[in-house]
Amino acid sequence: MNLTAEEKRIATETTRQLLSTYNDSRGNLIPVLQQVQNKLGYVPAVAMEEVAAHFNVPAVDVYGIITFYNQFRLTPPGKRQVKICMGTACHMRGAQIIQESWERRLNIKMGETTEDREYSLERVACVGCCTMAPVVLINEEVHGKITPTRVDGLIFSHQLDKQKEKEGAARDE
């Protein structure tokens, strides 16, 4: 995914600002990267370079850490981050089917973001909501007992929300 110059500038500035509050002890490396991701939603290459320089380590080491841990993203997420739980209980209750439903509806694969950056799809190992399986997280919100029709319903309700927002904005103008 190509970033705009503006996105690159924001990434660099945000990272620098964050780094100014941390010393260069190696134990701060992962917390800093987590902060970057919290602020930007992902860790772009420019941020990795800034972090590497701050901690005085090769950029490839930072890249190694980013790719080792599942939590870090290299591309911007969608406005709605859909995380599908792939824990045992969810799997046995059809998480695969739910995954395929999202992929079919959004026309993207796991790990991708829709063209309009509205949705991104991710898998998570287990969110510990096994009694509500299968479970999907949309941003931080947990949705339990998901079925393919619930997937349609969720997307539809998002569309309605968006429409209402638009109408609201139009009215305000």
């Binding site: 190696r26 695969q96 190992a125 393919p148």
Partner: protein, 647 residues
């Protein structure tokens, strides 16, 4: 007792008094508790909370409403408890939209407690049974989970008023060796999975040279299917904090960390708040309660790597490295974080510590069995009726846990197996149901205690598929350091994938067994050493299922997608009903010339929607395995029709 510690006792007595006042004030009005841990929230607890508050405001009623954690009865969520003058406290379950407001209205205005929505009463009475009157209540013995769901996790006073931080105050009067000896005598074994004696770990760290030492709470609960650490942290975070502070006092550490999964945002939030509150009360920080002892805690968030549950990998990640385990010895208790002696304990292990210090080692050894004292906490999930958390004495049998505590299998299906201990564990069949659950007997049966995740499987679950699922998980989570773990699990996964697609070869089972032995022998940490367990245990107990996949291209449980087809039984299809057509996401269902619904097998994505949508009085949609049975069924139907037309 030394003088400054007498001062600490006095300071604590003052805290207790304040907390008690706060606690007593709660009951001056009707008190409503709503379980809003992550599981409750997924079931709609936050809506319930709002609904109840609105109803109270509308009726101008005065009551205290508390957002509490999870009582363990996750199956009945959302859950609400009402304490009201004149009645025993009642716990309501399945409080769906509208019900919460109704109960509150009827109870608080007309004195009708809405018994029809009650799960159980909380205290013995003449009107309604309590939890202890059900089979589940008879087996349960709550120690760690006792306060979960009954106190506000965001209010330290509730924890103190119900006996919290008494143990830490007492530990201030004990020497390090006295604390370690008590834990040793209690026989507490680490609840993270392997069951290593906690006291011995602490002794090693206490004896290790050096003045800077660390204690770490391992809250990186990564086992899919396990959620007890999450529940404890969300429902009663102070218990773990108190345990960690006592551990620190025991080994002489002044700094502690909670290494917590980033996938548990609510737990992170609650632990952070709890640390803050403990600090403000003088229970953490410099000179705790005015004593000579100082200790503070910091949170370190994990970044989503299963292997970081392993001690040395966890330490590597805290040091800013990829979480790759290293060879032991030296053990972390000798040389851990930044090369200093470090004790790492699981959330549950630490949660037992305050209770042991308070009640003594002999009390703890009186519960459970000789080599496995205490209780075990299980996360029951899968096809069992009463999913949730259960705390039972060690050596309760699988049968008691699944059939009494869990109320058996849901939907009238047949029990097939229980998967214990996550990816490190194994699947045990019906014949193993009398196995007592403890560290040693489970290992002997071919499974593992693991952290206590228990997924119950019924006749619809394919054992080859579940083995493949776990191998897929461990293969993805392998850190890649050991060749056998990195490539061996990949090879095993490839074979299992072929089998679930109906492309298995007769020699596959032997190859799997051989590879399993080599992966076990050639891996450094437990991730690799235990990765083959799900495969080995399913081959051991369910070999016939492997053979059906390989030899007949058939999945006996009708689960493997490539080996099944959905089919609508013509004789059962109600022609005027369109339920399946409407539910199909890919428009694969249409009418044939007899207005019977037919599935276009080319278009079908096997999403199960039509089977769910078909009304239960028809049950016309079935799964067939192997898929070519569809053609046979079609031929039968056409031939039958011809015969009927000729007559």
């Amino acid at each position: 007792m030394s003088n400054h510690n007498a001062a600490a006792a006095a300071a604590f007595a003052k805290l207790q008094e304040e907390a008690q006042k706060d606690w007593d004030r709660l009951r001056e009005k009707p008190l409503i508790l709503i379980g809003a841990a992550t599981c409750g929230r997924a079931a709609g607890a936050l809506n319930l909370l709002e609904e109840v508050k609105n109803e109270l405001a509308e009726l101008k009623l005065d009551a205290n409403v508390l957002e509490v954690g999870c009582m363990g009865h996750c199956y009945a969520e959302p859950i609400m408890v009402i304490y009201n003058e004149g009645f025993p406290a009642i716990c309501y379950g399945y409080v769906t939209e509208g019900v919460g407001a109704r109960i509150v209205r009827d109870y608080l205005t007309e004195g009708d407690p809405g018994i029809e929505f009650a799960l159980a009463a909380l205290e013995p009475n003449d009107m309604f049974p309590t939890f202890a009157d059900f089979p589940r209540g008879i087996h349960e013995n709550k120690i760690v989970l006792e306060q979960c769901g009954f106190i506000d996790p965001q209010n330290i006073d509730h924890y103190i008023a119900t006996g919290g931080y008494v143990a830490l105050t007492r530990a201030l009067d004990m020497t390090s060796q006295e604390i370690v000896t008590t834990i040793k005598e209690s026989g507490l074994r680490g609840r993270g999975g392997a069951g290593f004696p906690t006291g011995i770990k602490w002794q090693t760290c206490l004896d290790a040279p050096g003045t800077t030492k660390y204690v770490i709470c391992n809250a990186d609960e990564g086992d899919p299917g396990a959620f007890m650490d999450r529940t404890i942290l969300e429902s009663n975070p102070h218990l773990m904090i108190e345990g960690l502070a006592i551990a620190a006092r025991a080994v002489g550490a002044t700094k502690g960390y909670v290494y917590i999964r980033a996938e548990y945002p609510l737990a992170v939030e609650r632990v952070a708040l709890a640390i803050e509150q403990a600090r403000s009360k003088g229970l953490l920080g410099d000179n705790i309660l005015g004593s000579d002892y100082s200790f503070d805690i910091e949170i370190f968030q994990g970044s989503g790597a299963f292997v970081c549950g392993e001690e040395s990998a966890l330490i590597a990640s805290m040091e800013g490295e990829p979480g790759i385990p290293r060879h032991r010895p030296p053990f972390p208790a000798q040389s851990g974080l930044w090369g200093r002696p470090t004790v790492i304990n699981n959330v549950k292990s630490l949660s037992y510590v305050p209770h042991i210090i308070k009640n003594g080692a002999a009390w703890f050894t009186g519960i459970g069995s000789e080599k496995n004292p205490g209780t075990a906490i299980f996360a029951l999930a899968g096809k069992v009726v009463n999913t949730g958390l259960a705390e039972v004495p060690m050596s309760t049998t699988l049968n008691e846990l699944i059939n009494d505590v869990g109320s058996g299998i849901a939907g009238g299906k047949k029990f097939k197996a229980v998967q214990i201990g996550g990816p490190s564990g194994g699947c045990l069949p019906e014949s193993a149901m009398d196995t007592p659950i403890d560290f040693d007997s489970l290992t002997r049966a071919g499974a593992m205690m693991g952290s206590g995740g228990m997924v119950v499987l019924d006749e619809d679950d394919c054992m080859v598929e579940i083995a493949r699922f776990f191998l897929d998980f461990t293969q993805q989570e392998s850190c890649g350091k050991c060749t056998f773990c990195r490539l061996g699990t990949k090879h095993m996964l490839d074979i299992l994938e072929r089998i679930t697609k109906g492309q298995g070869k007769p020699e596959d089972i032997d190859t799997l067994t051989q590879l399993a032995a080599k992966v076990k022998a050639g891996s450094l940490c437990s991730l690799g050493k235990t990765a083959p367990n799900p495969v080995l245990s399913t081959i051991k107990y369910f070999r016939d299922e492997y053979e059906a996949h390989i030899n007949e291209g058939r999945c006996p449980s009708k689960m493997c997608k490539d080996l099944i087809a959905y089919y609508i039984l013509p004789e059962k299809c109600e022609r005027s009903c369109d339920a399946c057509v409407g539910s199909c996401p890919v428009e694969a269902i249409g009418d044939n010339e007899d207005r019977i619904k037919v599935i276009d097998q080319e278009k079908c994505v096997k999403c199960d929607s039509c089977m769910v949508a078909c009304p239960p009085q028809y049950k016309a949609v079935v799964k067939l395995s192997p898929p070519h049975l569809v053609e046979e069924k079609d031929r039968e139907y056409r031939e039958g029709k011809q015969k009927w037309q000729k007559q």
